[in-house]
Amino acid sequence: MILRRFVASVAIIFAVVTLVFVLIHIAPGEPCPSDEPVDPAVCSELKQQFGLDRPVPEQYWRYLVALAHGNLGYSFSLRRPVKDALVETIPFTLQLSGAALLIDFLLGLLLGIYQASRVNRMPDWVLGNITLFIYSLPTFWLALILLLLFAEKLGWFPVGGASHPIFCPAGVDSAFCFADRIWHLLLPAVTLGLVGAAGTARFQRAAMLDVASQDYVRTARAKGVPERRVVLRHQLRNALLSFITRFGLAFPFLLTGAVLIETIFAWPGMGRLAFNAILTRDHTLVTATALIASAVVVFGNLAADLLLELADPRLRVRADVTTEIVTV
């Protein structure tokens, strides 16, 4: 069972990479694989060097073969092997996504639970409108506003970047630099996570209310079991389940939203890398980032599915739940 799903996941990633590969190679105009002006003679030599003068199917085959050997290719826009560039940027993206997810779910969960416990009263109404507003904001707009407010006007946070250039240039190699990294991470992670948190809060609230009206809760109530305990236990359990579902669904959003946030905050992550790669038509880099991105999404979903099944064997269904619908 798991094996079949694993194979399916690999097939999906394969399909994604093929699609991206084809797209970038059939795009009109064959620019020079170089980031500086070169004259036509050098250009055709460079093309030969990168194998760009061969027909597309052949290029595809060669790419697959290289991939099988673990060779991700050479990026001409960065002038280094793709693997090196990715190895440097992926940790940053993971840090940002991880922190954002943390803020998203912690805040969202707490808000949703609180709202559900005060349903239809003032706090619920106020929070409900606030979350609605935040959920509707364009993330990049929020990023600009937060940057203006907290970095420029108040000076509480750094203006972009991932680490202090003097004290921590070699990454996180001490407790001090760990703190420094968090200080740099806070603003972009909050931006990414806040909008997500608003969505999670709305979702959780609805899910918890849904549980509260279920038969088994009513039964327990009728039986005289203390309502709070029953409701809370079932609500939390259901919350956990939908949490796991949404966890798997949150991945693509984070990778998507990350491009804009990374650009605005100068965060050296994979989103920005991919964006620049597309604009400079750096074939190898683009396909490699597509590979990584889709792998993260697909395996994230798979993990979420498996966790879901483990948590509740009754729910041995594929997570055909979309982000909008409230029912289980």
Partner: protein
Amino acid sequence: MTLGTWLALVVALVLSGELVRALRQRALRGNRDRWRRFFKHRTTSWGIGILTFLAIVALAAPLLAPYPPNQQLDIVQLKNHGPSWTFILGTDVLSRDVWSRLVWGARVSLGIGALGALVAISVGTVVGALSGYYRRWVDTVLMRSVDVGLALPRIFILLMVVALWDGLPFAALVLAIGLTSWFGTSRLVRAEVLSLREREFVMAARALGMGGARVIFRHVLPNAAAPIIVSAALGVGNVLLLEASLSFLGIGVAPPDPSWGNMIADGASEIYSAPWTTIFPGLAIALVVMSLNAIADGLRDALDPREEPA
């Protein structure tokens, strides 16, 4: 702002307010259960009101905008002026009236939102219906494609398409956005169709010898309308945000024509000296998306009887 445009603005505000109020009264007094549930929460009414207002603004743009949106009024004297009585939302770095651009930009942004969502919903519905109805290999093939589609970061593909084929016409942009946004809807529709498929009226129709397409379109889909409509409402908001993101990255609507997204992009570099050029388009987008979400909430309440607050 000229007298004429002030008048038009007031008329638009009053019109949308009255429309919503009238609808609400009728719904609350009437005996249609769904309508009553829809208008129960105040936020839904506000949502409809705001959306109506913005729709009127977009449609009546020539009446509401005192200046042409692309006209640089006086690049030396009127650059980066804050909100005032003449320019209620101020001027931008090229001395263009922000209010006029917002009004004309509403056409572009809302238009892209509606059209893009239309494409997405249509394709998603068809795929989901076919998949749910015919099942077996049709289902497998289609749903695998949906999996592939969901695995792709959407902005990634859009970036590639738009950035690599430069000089794409407006319609192609809308199409591209629509064609990358239908995956969620298809899953939704599929789930609904799967459950509806086993209902008696469907079996009856099939027993009567009705062809598949006919069964789907005349019997199954109308009953699956609820989630589709909700999806559509939310879809417009998503497309709007997507267009804004693309314009911010420089690959959406081309200058000088305004769209709310590229207004934010243009204003981003002036955010310290003229923050109003960024704030107002962002608020406009937030308002629209908020209204749509509120309406979707109301629709869910109205169309899904299982939902019951504790």
